[in-house]
């Protein structure tokens, strides 16, 4: 598939849009995202894989966790523009604001493996 279509497909799912906006707040590991979205770990992992494949996020191994974050340094100028658009749009969405509240309290050492 063409890269632009791939980017749009990656962002065509509400859960993946929620992930993008959560990552704008801070880096998160798989189980933190699982906790907030209330999905199976394997499902979250699959979503992250799709976003990564579209060059929208990057991962960074840290101890036993994998931290995912937005690919703000992408060489692809289109990615930068779309990132700005998606994140700006999130500011006026009440549902996403609720996710952001949860990010503040969520703690990977408590919730992972529960």
């Amino acid at each position: 598939m063409k890269q632009l279509a791939k980017i749009f497909k990656a962002l065509s799912d509400t859960n993946r849009l929620r992930i993008m906006r959560m990552l704008d707040k801070r880096s998160l590991c798989v189980c933190e995202i699982r906790e907030i979205l209330q999905l199976a770990t394997s499902t979250v992992s699959a979503h992250l894989s799709i976003l990564k494949e579209a060059d929208l996020i990057v991962d960074d191994k840290d101890n036993k966790w994998v931290n995912y974050s937005l690919n703000t340094n992408s060489k692809n100028p289109t990615v930068k523009k779309i990132l700005a658009l998606v994140l700006h749009e999130g500011k006026s969405d009440q549902d996403f604001q609720e996710d952001l509240e949860k990010i503040i309290t969520v703690d990977r050492t408590n919730i992972c493996g529960s």
Copy 2:
């Protein structure tokens, strides 16, 4: 579905991206698009319906034809930004340039109903 996810889903298909870029050249009817994309008429109609539902294009009845064009006057500022992004990206894509060549020669009075 949320409006932004709907817009991204509409643009996640290569044929629909091609349609968007063709419409940037000029308004087209269903059978002109069918001729260029080499798809069934009903398939093209379905694609146009999805783009219209996402507020990306508008239709305008003219005699026995329905002219489709880009919704450049959308009240949704996100639509305007995405339109600019999609069309700009198309300029550096050889495949889309070939579609544009065909638009110049295609004539609805010849090809429709053939």
